[in-house]
């Protein structure tokens, strides 16, 4: 995938029309609580959640090529912040703290472990999830007596608007970073880490920073979604599905393109919402099959398929991939 250099992108006008469409879409979405059907707000909140988690995951794991399974950790921290602090402070503050707490965790974890190579890093993040889940569970059972906690209640419309805002911020941040010199630097780290370091890129700082930024959004989303569930426990909060699902969504959609990532999230979140109550096992089965098929045959995901199709239908000129 070619990243056009900054100068040439800014000069191009081809972002104008999609930009206007997006803006209109946002206005419609923002107005939904007022005139849309009741359930749509709840439905969309969940989809927004997946978009945030998936985009957040891609922000880090996309360019660096280190598969993180810590998404659920950061999401879960946000959830617990909501459970612990939600009753004592305004929603906005709580959400920000949820995001910040996750960021701090990411900074900590990142600086300790980002030097771990490949598979070690992935299984570390996975082990971290299990450790935190079991540690909190042990703590709650041993010291507070109850395993779960109640979360402050917030009305669905507010939840929806918060999730919308977080989603927009996440996708916007991902978009801006990707097209900046930092995005380019991250890509170079993923391709040739040693060479990147030798041209002046502070690899550790970059990786840890993007890890922390992505964690912020995941934590903020967790803090908001917790208020919808109203009762949470360690196993709900630190559920490995929130680590696995974004990976699937991103791979299916196509890690290289932000549009692909968001599309993947939307498609799967939508499918999940529809199927999960009546046919949970079929849904997960399809999940697994799509995952295998994507990894085996669609290295660039859905976005890659779309791109190839467009290349074929524009007369086979050399297409910038």
């Amino acid at each position: 995938m070619i990243q056009l250099s900054w100068a040439s992108i800014r000069a191009s006008k081809s972002y104008l029309i999609p930009g206007i469409i997006l803006l209109l879409g946002l206005i419609v979405l923002a107005g939904l609580p007022s005139f849309g059907p009741k359930y749509s707000v709840i439905f969309l909140s969940t989809i927004f959640m997946y978009i945030v988690l998936t985009t957040g995951w891609v922000m880090f794991s996309g360019p660096t090529r280190q598969i993180s399974l810590a998404t659920a950790v950061f999401f879960g921290i946000g959830i617990y912040i909501a459970a612990i602090l939600g009753k004592h402070m305004p929603l906005l503050v709580m959400v920000l703290i949820g995001g910040l707490a996750s960021s701090v965790m990411a900074l900590l974890v990142g600086s300790l472990t980002l030097r771990l190579k490949g598979v070690y890093f992935t299984i570390f993040t996975f082990g971290l999830l299990e450790l935190i889940k079991n540690a909190i569970n042990w703590y709650e059972v041993t010291f507070t007596g109850t395993r779960g906690r109640f979360v402050v209640v917030v009305d669905n419309n507010t939840i929806y608007l918060y999730m919308l805002a977080i989603t927009v911020l996440t996708v916007l941040t991902a978009f801006l970073i990707r097209r900046s010199k930092y995005g380019l630097a991250l890509q170079s780290i993923g391709e040739q880490e040693e060479a990147a370091a030798h041209i002046g890129i502070n690899v550790t700082l970059m990786k840890v920073s993007i890890f922390a930024i992505s964690a912020f959004f995941m934590g903020a989303a967790g803090a908001v979604m917790a208020t919808r569930w109203t009762y949470i426990d360690p196993f709900m909060a630190f559920n490995m599905n929130y680590s696995f699902t974004p990976v699937l969504m991103a791979i299916f959609g196509g890690v290289g393109q932000l549009g692909g990532v968001v599309s993947g999230a939307i498609i799967f979140a939508y499918l999940e919402q529809i199927l999960i109550t009546k046919y949970p096992f079929y849904y997960m089965l399809v999940f697994g099959i799509v995952m295998v098929v994507s990894v085996l045959f669609l290295p660039n995901g859905l976005a890659g398929v779309v791109k190839n199709w467009r290349a074929r239908t524009t007369g086979g000129r050399y297409v910038r991939t």
Partner: protein
Amino acid sequence: MFVLEGQGVTKYFGGLAAVSDVDFHVDQGEIVGLIGPNGAGKTTLFGLISAALVPNSGTIRFKGENITGLRPHQICKKGLARTFQSVKVFSDMPVINNVVLGVHFGTSERVKAAQAANEADRLLEFVGLSGRAMVPAKDLTLVNQKLLEVARALATKPEVLLLDEIMAGLNSTEITQAMELVSKIRAQGITIFMIEHVMKAIMSVCDRIMVLDHGKKIAEGTPQEIATSKMVVEVYLGE
């Protein structure tokens, strides 16, 4: 004061000394060659200088400052750049972005995007890759990828440039062009320390040559002195 020097530089891998108690120095404006049989420790020495590796003992100074213990990106920002024996271009990016990255991050200056692009274009022209700016780096020929690595390294505004076997795999014409490029780079005021196996290139372009064998420095002198040294000839033919 030498622009680059090292004393007693030693590096062990397991029980084996890849570089053993090596002293070296490079004067500002020189082109110094580093030769030796395969496995002599040449690339390891470069790795120690650029901080890709940490020495077990010894010190390395750059412009009088002790740089042992610094990290690669810090050393780059101080003005030392290198290319790699096995080419490490950023394959999935266009050629120009490889260089743009060097411009943005190689120095402590903040550069605007348009300015970076211009600088990158200039460097591509300097090494002879002008027509290829938008080509994905992986689609370049080997020799062009090596030129790209040089352009990328030059983008970081180095005072000293370490070149690791840039002529490997090049044909006769390409070698001559590479030699010209090396002279052009020196003419810009950049000091060059280069590892090479292509003897004719080293002999004609270098002011001074160092010879390593089994991690130790065994000879040093002008090309003339090295070419006529019995010991060096034996080392190359003997193993």
